[in-house]
Amino acid sequence: MTKSELIQRLAEMYPDPRLYHRDFERVVNKVFDEISAALARGDRVELRGFGAFSVRARGERVGRNPRTGESVNVAKKHLPFFKTGKELRERINQG
């Protein structure tokens, strides 16, 4: 399922004449933009039953250019992580 399919399916769930396709697009974009913005601030996003997004720091390390074998410093960086929630994990393993 892509984002556009998600928007389409959401629109089909709410056959409300006040709502246009554009509105569902804004809803879906807003949800992911809010999660992204929270992670960019270093906040955690916890959605019970679904999962939790968090940011973990990776220290500076010496990496190697795989082509030349030359050592290069890889700067410290922050990476997003997702931990699957209990209910979602159970749904995935059902049947």
Binding site: M1, T2, K3, L6, R9, L10, M13, Y14, L19, D23, R26, V27, V28, K30, V31, F32, D33, E34, I35, S36, A38, L39, A40, R41, G42, D43, R44, V45, E46, L47, R48, F50, G51, V55, E60, G63, N65, R67, T68, E70, V72, N73, V74, A75, K76, K77, H78, L79, P80, F81, F82, T84, E87, L88, R89, R91, I92, N93, Q94
Partner: protein, 116 residues
Amino acid sequence: MTGKTVTRADLAEAVFREVGLSRNESAKLVESVLGLITDSLAKSESVKISSFGSFSVRMKGQRIGRNPKTGEEVPILPRKVLVFRASHVLKDQINGETSADEADAAPEYSPSDPSS
């Protein structure tokens, strides 16, 4: 870094401010978005959200685990796990905003210059 935790209520509030719907309807829409993603993953169908990331279901084979308390060997049955891969847009957003103050502290990694 503010160290806060964002929840469903915060997402619903953001949707409420974005679209002209009630708080209750906004909360329902947020729940439905999560529900649709869950339904898709429950069918082992991956979910790709451009400029955010992708969720996919991976099969894990059986392996032998150990009860850490008793040391007893127990088989861990084959199961499915959810893998989230963040998009580069999200990774860049996180590093642009959280480590901007530290950017001068460490030399930047740059791919080898083809001209050198």
